[in-house]
Symmetry: C2
Subunit: 191 residues, 2 copies
Amino acid sequence: MPRVGLNQQTVVREAARLADEVGFSQLTLAALANRLGVALPSLYKHVRGADALAQKLAALATAELATEMTTAAVGRSGGDALRAMANAYRGYAHRHPGRYPATQRVPDPADPEHVEAGERAVGAVVAVLRGYGLTGDDAVDATRALRSALHGFVTLEAAGGFGLPRDVDRSYQQLIASMDISFRSWPGTGA
Amino acid sequence: MPRVGLNQQTVVREAARLADEVGFSQLTLAALANRLGVALPSLYKHVRGADALAQKLAALATAELATEMTTAAVGRSGGDALRAMANAYRGYAHRHPGRYPATQRVPDPADPEHVEAGERAVGAVVAVLRGYGLTGDDAVDATRALRSALHGFVTLEAAGGFGLPRDVDRSYQQLIASMDISFRSWPGTGA
DNA sequence: AAACTCGGCTAAGTGACTTAGCTTTAAGGC
DNA sequence: GCCTTAAAGCTAAGTCACTTAGCCGAGTTT
């Protein structure tokens, strides 16, 4: 039997592609093995199992998302940076519907790349909020608020929770605009 | 063999209890059958299968959540109503960690009770927003924003995405306060 | 060329869901 | 009070996904 020449990276990358096609919850080792042209148990030479694959996929997707968020915000500030980053966030979820859910997995402390990717993602948000003068506790609260809003919107949208998809773009822009207003007069700032 | 005397309602109610104990994703027909004192295939006399059970559980949980949201907001208005409803929302998710994820399933058009429950939940939000003078397109956008924020926060919190759980309560109150500010000067209102 | 590593394989076991088909309970008609 | 019958329970068996064990040959190293 000729060797296919897999390694962990090729396996995880193909898993990401497959997840985007069939959905994260439909990602199965059998389908992945089939796609890679090997028998299913052969995958265990490269990943420790289904859960470990999901974790590695999370690390990959989180790193990609963090990069796109950072890139979008660079060279901008305030509402401009916020809009760019928020649109990058939702754009990633749209382009990678299978990878996005993976990013919600809490980083594995045993995987430095995963931890670093998570820190970069949060760091991108914190950097944007610093442009609003938010630091310390306020930055923590505001970061959580922004993450909640973005993640919640994208998740509900993906789940089909918004009825007709017609005006979803506009609703998202309004959400961003409302967050912009909130951050300018953040509750804890003046009081 | 004496009959246990199950029906669909008892099965779904027990599934809800079990889900709260072991988690929605760990809810299994085998465990449920064991809990009810019957063999696994016997459950098929009452529910059509695992997916149908999840849908019925979604209908139950959505109805409960809608009731709690409505009850919390009744007799209040503006920021008062918003705070009460938001706290009821998160409170339900805390008290019923297994049922809450079920509420994210889009209502099954073939299940009138499920559809009605979903409408009541959205109706509760819309009613609160009417207290801010938000109607029409603005109400649609604001409803989506509020649902996104609440759902996103609760989901990230449940997933352990907020690091130390110490100040999560305060962050939630700040989120609500920021939504209150947003709704008072909703982006689309004045412009 | 021999040896060794390692990436592939087959075989086999577990747990979850599902279907098919049988049995027996319990209710209702006669 | 018996007989019929719908339905609630059961066992048996099949599918699918994940996992482990252990074999074998390809490719590299010496």
